[in-house]
Structures are given as C-alpha cells and as structure tokens.
C-alpha cells in the first residue's frame, strides 16, 4: 500500500497477455481480474484506478462502480496491513467461531469492522470460506489458517506484528 497515487499503466502489459486467452471482443470480462490485480498492488481501489481502467477497457464507469459495490472482496478504502477475516457461518460457529472472534477482540482491542490504531490489523467477520471441516478458521490476507486454537492464534499474531 502506498500513499502516493501511482498509475496502473505498468500493469497493462500483463492485462494484454490475459486477453489472448479470451474470445475476441469481450474485454469487459477483464474488469474483475484487473480490479483484483490493482487491489493486490495498492491494497484498495483508488478513484484514479477506476478512471484509468474505464479508459483502458472501454467499459461504462457504472459497470466498474457496480462491481466494486457488489463484491465483498473489493475495498475503496485502505485496510490494515493484515486483514483478518473470521468465518462465522454455521459450521465454524459450531466449532468456536464466536470464541475466536472474542479472542481476537481481546488481543487486538478492536471490534469486528475496525482497524487497530497502528494500521496493522483489520478484523472482519465473513461468511463461509469452504473450510468447514477445519473450523474454526480465518483468512489473513490471502492465506487460510485453520483448526485454530488460542496458542496458534497468539503465535500467528506475534509473528505478524513483527
């Protein structure tokens, strides 16, 4: 994540390579893959990213706005360096998801939906991540952490805080 607004132009050669595997004339499909790639670099989607993507793909701006509003993985604002996403759906609740969230709230001093004041951790609760047999679990950025216990969570938080 950077505070200075960088252009997405350096990603365009990569986007062009992706196009070769799509049927010709359907560049609009790249909206979601491009947004994923941009967010991977910047940590969120900035207004300037939308302007540049609209210009590059030739899709209506409303389409990009709708996509950003519809899908939960995209964010228009920066999150903490480590995004903790705890599943609180049925199977995880049956194996201790409530307690896991309680544990993280106590450890980090925040509630779900909040970011620690040093910008290190954002805690959110999410729906099923297809990790039901290894509950309770959470995602930390892109990685799954499963069969969690207080000891493994504490060790993980210490490692991430370093």
């Amino acid at each position: 994540m950077t505070s200075t607004m960088t252009s997405i132009q350096h990603l365009i050669p990569e986007f062009e390579r992706w196009k070769t595997r799509y049927p010709a004339g359907f560049e609009g499909s790249l909206t979601i893959p491009c947004l994923h790639r941009i967010q991977q670099e910047r940590g969120y989607i900035a207004d300037s990213d939308i302007d540049e993507l609209v210009a590059y793909l030739g899709v209506p701006r409303t389409q990009v706005d709708e996509v950003l509003g519809f899908y939960t993985m995209f964010t228009r604002t920066p999150r903490g360096r480590h995004h903790l996403q705890v599943c609180h759906n049925a199977s995880c609740s049956l194996r201790g998801a409530e307690g896991l969230v309680a544990h993280l709230c106590l450890k980090l001093g925040i509630r779900p939906g909040e970011t620690t004041s040093d910008g290190a951790f954002t805690l959110t609760t999410v729906e099923c991540l297809a990790s039901c047999g290894t509950a309770p679990m959470m995602m930390v950025n892109e990685a799954y952490h499963e069969n969690l216990t207080p000891a493994t969570v504490d060790a993980l938080l210490e490692e991430l805080a370093r």
Partner: protein, 466 residues
C-alpha cells in the same frame, strides 16, 4: 495447508492415491493414468456426439446440488448452429458446509481440467472457463499451475495432441459473492459485471455467456468425465445405485469426531457413514440432526436418518436432498434458535438485492430471529417466519430466498418448541449453546464478563462486513 486426506469405504474414483507434495502435478497425474481419456477422445476418432452419448449413458447427475443429468444438459447444445459454445466449470464453492470441490481442485486439478477439455470438445467449444471463488488460495494456485502445465505439454492451446482441436482456458477469480455460484449470475460475473441472476427462458444453453450457448457444470461433475470416458460407462455404472450412479464427495463438518472430505459410493448407509467412518459425534454426544447437503437443504433429525442411504432418491424420500454433499452434524444440546439466527444472517448478507421478496424478506427474517435470540421475541414471530418464507417461495429469479425459507422453516418444523420456549422465557432452552468443544471458551467467557448484556461478539447490531 491442505485438507486432511480421509479414508471411507467402497470404490474411489478420486481418493485412490496417497497425497504427497507432488501428487497434484501433471507428471503424477499421468503416472496414475491421467489424460488417457482425452487421448482416447482426440486420437481414437471419437466424435463430439460420441462423448455426449457416453456421458448420457453413464447417468451421471450434476454434483453442484440440483442433481440434473449432465448428459441431458450437454445434449441440448446444437453443435451445427454456427455459434461459439462455452463450457464453464463452476468452482465457486460457497454453499455453507461444502468444501469437497476445494479438495478436488487442490489434489486432482488435472482431472478437473481433463474433464473440462473433454466437455469442451463434446460441445465444440473453442474457449473454456473455470470460475473459481476469489477467496481460494491453494486451490487457485494449484489450478493455475495445472493450466500452465497443460499448455506447456500441448494439452491446451492450438491443435491439442495433433488432433486439430484447439481450446483456450481462462481461470477466472470471483470476488466474494455466494449468489455467483448460481449459473446465470456466474456468467454475468464472467462478463465483468455484478453477479445478478437472470430469468429463464432463454436458458443458458441457448443464451449464456456473451449471449452464446453455454453449459455450466460443477467441478465434481467434470472431474467424473475422465472416469466415464477413460474407464468406461460400465465401470462407472457398476458403482452406486441405478438412479444415482458413481460416487459422491461428501464434506462433513460441525460436531463430528472426524470432519473432512470423504468419497462414498451412492447408496451407502447414512448412519454407518456418520457413526463408523466419521467416528460419531464429538465427545461421544448423541446426534440431534444433520444438515444433509449444504445449509440450503432441509435438516433431518436422528430418527429420520434411520435406514436412509446416501443417494438422491433416498434423501428425497426422507424429506430432504443430498444437495452439494456438504453435511453438517449437530449434537444434542445445541440451541437451534441461535443456529437458525446464524444461518439467516448468511442469507441476508448474500441476497443480491434484485428481487423484492428476497431483498426485503431476508433482512426481515434475520431481524425477527435476532429479536428472538435477544429475548425480545413476540408470540406471533414464529408464524411470521413461515409467512415471509412462503412469500419468497417461487417469487424470485433464483432460489436463494426459497432456500433460506426451507432452511429456517425446516428447523422450525422440527424444533418449534425451542422457539416457543425462547419467545416465552426470553432465553434459550439450551443456554444458547452452539459448541460441544470450544477451544476459545476462556476468551469467550472473558469477553462476556467485559461486555455485560451483549449477546455475542459475532452478533453485534448492524453486522460487520469488510
């Protein structure tokens, strides 16, 4: 981290090799006989219609949840209509309780891909798609690497195996939306749009992706295609029951002693599966009920499971469905009111907002259940839940709202007394219990001591979604 490798009983089409660091690779898959089915198709003169005929003859039912015959879906594509045709693998596994496709994607990505290539050939497609949920990490990387290995080995791209047949495959990551597992919403998402389902007709096999005829098949359905084509229809049909041939990948979670993914032959005893293969319930507790195939299927209690077998007809006769094979076991002593509240939060969160009955009904049901679990329920609330559920049934484009209704009213049908008790007394008959063994019990107790009067850290008013 990979999922645990589970051993059940009977024939295995997928879980028949030791999982190692390399067992997902092209080299390992080929050593197990992988891509022999594709070789047969492309180098032994099989015509596209021959492939579809064999898949139809196998009697394979779709593994995504609806159990629609795959051969019939393929059979409606008109091969000589001059249009491009697309096959899309539905790897947007998101039905709560379901994680079997994840196992296939992580451990047999080439088998899934071989199925997609054969299906695309059968439907004369030039482009195939894999729509994989955006959160998947290892499954995504394994499938991405499998596709690149296949390109490098001439199994994808121009002129595959010198046959003259060409296919490009796009691996497309979703971005966090349950409803995109619905086929028409998935295709909208593949077009780079918000994932709104659309009305049929026209069916997707007439106007699908980019308005062209499209077949959407579940991961497991496609992974079965190399079995059918490579080992033969007879071998496939010899397993399972006449009406549900083959095997089913079952993912089991909840209060079960040995959760994980199991491959069972259709027709296997449900109770034997639960009590022997899966080791019964956590802590030796008695079984209260199971959610049979993802939270959208109706619960069955311990009595209703007696004599039932793991196949579509038997599950239907028992009053539910095998669905996506995502089974959740629930032990005696669990508060079904709190569980219904958790389940309904999910449906409300995932309603796409397009159809009024679902957009309004999902939140309404959640609010009714929320006030019940907060001890503020009203006597008429139970009937109100049935009323909202009925108002959704068949009145929306997709079945998300219907499913929520079935899920919640099935719990009401079975455990109405728990809801009545909660409303009357303002508290749970089972102390709000959701866990049998809670590794974080101490932290939860501390949290409650610090937050008196609050129900749960995950049930704060308003919800918290990043």
């Amino acid at each position: 981290m990979t999922l645990p490798y589970q051993v059940g009983s009977g024939t295995k089409f997928f879980m028949n090799f030791p999982v190692t660091e390399r067992s997902h690779t092209l080299e390992a898959y080929r050593a197990r006989g992988g891509y022999k089915a594709l070789t047969r198709v492309l180098q032994e003169g099989m015509q596209p219609t021959d492939v579809t005929k064999e898949v139809s003859a196998s009697g394979i039912l779709g593994h995504g949840g609806a159990a629609f015959p795959a051969g019939r879906k393929w059979g409606v594509i008109k091969l000589n209509d001059g249009e491009p045709h697309y096959v899309c693998m539905n790897a947007d596994e998101g039905e709560p309780g379901t994680f079997k496709d994840r196992w296939l994607l992580e451990h047999v990505p080439h088998m899934c891909l071989e199925g997609l290539i054969i299906a695309s050939y059968a439907l004369m497609g030039r482009h195939g798609f894999i729509y994989i949920r955006g959160e998947f990490d290892l499954a995504y990387r394994r499938m991405r690497d499998a596709i690149e290995e296949a390109y490098a080995a001439g199994l994808l791209g121009e002129n595959i195996m010198g046959s003259g047949y060409s296919l490009d495959v796009v691996l497309y990551q979703g971005a966090g939306s349950y409803v995109c597992g619905e086929a028409s919403a998935m295709l909208a998402s593949l077009e780079g749009k918000k994932g709104w389902p659309r009305n049929r007709p026209p069916r997707l096999t007439v106007k699908g992706l980019y308005q062209k005829p499209t077949v959407v098949n579940n991961v497991e359905t496609l992974a079965n295609v190399p079995v059918i084509i490579g080992q033969g229809v007879e071998v496939f049909r010899a397993v399972g029951t006449p009406k549900s041939p083959g095997t089913q990948m079952i993912s089991i979670s909840g209060h079960i002693a040995r959760p994980g993914v199991y491959e069972v032959e259709y027709g296997y005893s449900w109770e034997k599966f639960l009590y022997e293969d899966c080791g019964g319930m956590q802590g030796g507790k008695a079984l209260k009920c199971v959610i049979p195939g993802g939270v959208s299927t109706k619960i069955l209690n311990a009595d209703e499971l007696k004599g039932v077998t793991l196949d579509h007809n038997s599950a239907l006769a028992a009053g539910s469905q095998l669905g996506s094979g995502g089974m959740i076991a629930i032990a005696e002593g669990t508060c079904m009111v709190r569980l219904a509240r958790v389940i309904q939060r999910f449906y409300h969160h995932e309603s796409c907002g397009q159809c009024t009955p679902c957009r309004e009904g999902m939140g309404w049901m959640e609010r009714v259940l929320d006030r019940i679990v907060r001890g503020q329920g009203r006597p008429e609330d139970i009937d109100r839940l049935y009323y909202i559920s009925n108002a959704n049934d068949g009145t929306t484009i997709c079945s998300l709202g219907d499913s929520a209704g079935y899920a919640v009213t099935a719990i009401l049908d079975h455990y109405r007394e728990e809801f009545e008790y909660y409303v009357k007394n303002g508290r749970s008959m089972f102390d709000g219990q959701l866990t049998v063994e809670d590794p974080f019990a101490e932290s939860l107790a501390t949290w409650h001591a610090l937050n008196p009067g609050q129900l749960s850290p995950t049930l704060a008013a308003g919800g918290h979604h990043g």
